[in-house]
């Protein structure tokens, strides 16, 4: 075995297959509307040409995959202390990663790679979140050997050379949190209703638009005809509406379930030298490192169902190092239980965050929210009805439903809107259904803004915004005297200590 990796070498020959599937996945992603049309128009198409076309596409992809495989080489350049990857067919890319910048080398397997029996190796460096180098298909012994080489060379300049490498190897095999498929299913049926719904709408519209364009048939037109027929019979309309709603809800649920399982399958969290190493994903495995000192905002959220099932979601916002392009990286950990949450929080904060003094918003916050979400739409609807009385009458009965629904949502939003201030933690609680707690440490504050509208001066309420490198935390319409007192305290703490925010 070439254990020095100083000569440019290719991936495992079976890697062609990985490249093939990977290329195919990319093209399928880009061309799915066209594929959908083909499926729809299957009967009308000239079969021999279709199969010929498909065969041609497959051969083309195979050639591209083979060239990608041929042109992909990697080696260790000992003279410049670099790890070099060459890739590309027409546009050749050469990626050189300085060995002493390498922070992390991960060996993973996605589903495709598992079936074929090869491994992927990712190289992460300091100062960015995406992986800099990726080798898609090598055998396990080579992967382990290469990883050892990379880390060995990268830690040559550091202290504790051998200890750290052996530690990594031994620690890596024992993830301390594993999120089971059952937890993911629980998450799938209890979360992201709005996100899945909008995704469904988006899917539906792009699909129908593409079908329209290419078939000349209007999906909506046919529906409208049906609707007008039903319009005569109000009862039938309501039944159709209810059935539609229920089936839509079920579809949303299913999509969400599939999406979450695909995304977070086999979620593993490993401790490594004080950092957390996450890996997850069904088709392509993602790897992320969380360094506690880089974490800015930690969010813990769950809703009523999730509370009953003992699951919750953690969102971690890290600081992106120095660059002005604000690509805030949010890391999701879905489906932990309370014990696992405490373990993660302990690792991030060295203690479990406590809720201290509670600040509540003034009732005007609720009033203003009701004005925006109920008052304004009602005024708008009033004018709409004036000019389109027929349409207005038809949907009149929806108004009380809307008012009650939005009113209840806003009430709970107001009731859950809290700021908790403790010596070491500031926690903002918010949300109507999904109640989230955003936790920051006062030392992570970059700047503080206080804001007061002039007609709030006499009532003594105002808004506080805490700016961190991972985003802002704002608390609106709280007692302004208390807010100012805490601002002075935080400023004092920040200015008298040289605590590191990153």
């Amino acid at each position: 075995m070439q254990s020095y990796f100083n000569e440019p070498q290719r991936q495992s020959s079976i890697g062609v297959l990985v490249m093939f599937l990977d290329t195919m996945r990319h093209y399928a992603k880009a061309l799915w509307p066209v594929l959908l049309i083909w499926v729809f128009k299957f009967d009308e198409l000239n079969k021999p040409y279709l199969f010929l076309g498909i065969a041609a596409v497959f051969i083309l992809i195979a050639i591209i995959a083979y060239l990608r495989y041929r042109n992909f080489t990697y080696y260790l350049d000992y003279e410049n202390d670099e790890f070099v990857i060459n890739e590309g067919i027409f546009n050749k890319t050469k990626t050189a990663i300085q060995l002493d910048k390498i922070q992390q080398v991960n060996i993973n397997q996605s589903l495709i790679q598992k079936i074929i029996g090869v491994y992927a190796l990712d190289v992460d460096t300091a100062g960015s979140n995406n992986k800099e180098g990726e080798i898609k298909a090598i055998s396990h012994p080579i992967a382990v050997e290469l990883k050892a080489r990379l880390l060995d060379n990268s830690s040559r300049n550091r202290v504790a050379l051998h200890n750290s490498t052996t530690e990594i190897l031994s620690e890596e095999n024992t993830p301390f949190i594993k999120i089971s498929l059952l937890s993911l299913l629980k998450v799938g049926i209890t979360s992201n209703y709005i996100k899945s719904f909008s995704l469904l709408l988006f899917f539906f519209f792009t699909a129908s638009e593409n079908i329209n364009k290419l078939t000349g048939r209007d999906v909506f037109e046919q529906k409208n005809i049906n609707n007008i027929d039903d319009y005569v019979n109000q009862n039938a309309l309501i039944t159709v509406f209810l059935i539609g709603l229920v089936s839509l809800f079920i579809i949303v649920l299913m999509i969400n379930l599939v999406r979450i399982v695909f995304r977070y399958f086999d979620y593993k969290i490993t401790k490594q030298k004080g950092s957390l190493l996450l890996s997850y994903g069904l088709l392509n495995t993602k790897n992320t490192i969380i360094k506690p000192e880089k974490v800015q905002i930690t969010g813990v959220s769950r809703n009523y169902f999730q509370k009953k099932m003992n699951i919750l979601e953690i969102k971690i916002k890290q600081a992106t190092s120095g660059s002005k392009e604000e690509r805030k990286s949010v890391i999701d950990i879905p489906g932990c239980n309370e014990f696992e949450r405490d373990e993660i929080l302990k690792l991030l904060f060295h203690q479990i965050p406590q809720k201290g003094v509670m600040l509540t918003p003034n009732f005007r916050k609720l009033g203003f929210a009701l004005f925006l979400t109920i008052g304004l739409p009602l005024i708008g609807f009033y004018f709409f009805e004036k000019y389109n009385p027929e349409v207005g009458m038809a949907v009149n009965y929806l108004i009380p439903i809307y008012v009650i629904f939005v009113g209840v949502v806003q009430f709970f939003k107001f009731r859950n809107y809290r700021l908790f201030i403790h010596d070491d933690f500031i926690i903002k609680q918010s949300g109507a259904w999904d109640i989230s707690n955003e936790i920051i440490e006062p030392s992570k504050i970059q700047a503080i803004t206080t804001s007061q509208l002039f007609w709030h001066k006499s009532i003594g309420i105002g808004t506080l915004t805490l700016h961190t490198a991972g985003g802002n935390i704002a608390f609106q319409l709280g007692n302004f005297e208390t807010i100012k007192q805490y601002v002075n305290l935080w400023l004092y703490e920040i200015e008298t200590s040289d605590s590191n925010w990153m």
């Binding site: 700047a447 803004t449 007061q452 002039f454 490198a469 100012k484 004092y492 920040i494 200015e495």
Partner: protein, 183 residues
Amino acid sequence: MACHLAGFKKLPMENFTNDTIDTTQLPKFEQVPMSGLHRSYWKVILINIAILLIVFCAVYVFTFAYIEELDQYHTETAVGLAILMFLITVFSRIGYKKKGFAFREHDVLFRHGVIATNTMVIPYNRIQHVALHEGLIPRLFGLVKIEIFTAGGHSSDIEIPGIEKMQAQNIKQLLMGKIQKEL
């Protein structure tokens, strides 16, 4: 227990205190006197408004010259435009009056806003870098804008316009010195 403690590095006991902080005795950011922007900066704002007015008038003249159906709305549009310009001037005046800044020993304060009063505070040890920006019109009056950046992104940067160039350079020197010291 005693031998356990002996293992620790001895703290200089006489210098170490850990009293409870009386938060009411802390320096209050809300009571810091703010210095306003340079008087010439109001002229800069007026020139900007004048340029805006010229643009509006040009659009006004051209649209009415080419679209004849609009002829009946001549006066209404003119009055609307006048009211709009008046409001812009009034709000700019309020905004100009309200803008203020202060450099304390450990942080910089910036106050701004029209209907709200916003006060932003950045501690010196959170400043990433400082830049001076010279606009075309402010340069005629020898004014520059100081930009103070933190790692918190655009929302947590301070931009103080209307500072005399010499003073701005002094401020920049001061800030750079503070940053160096804090590091």
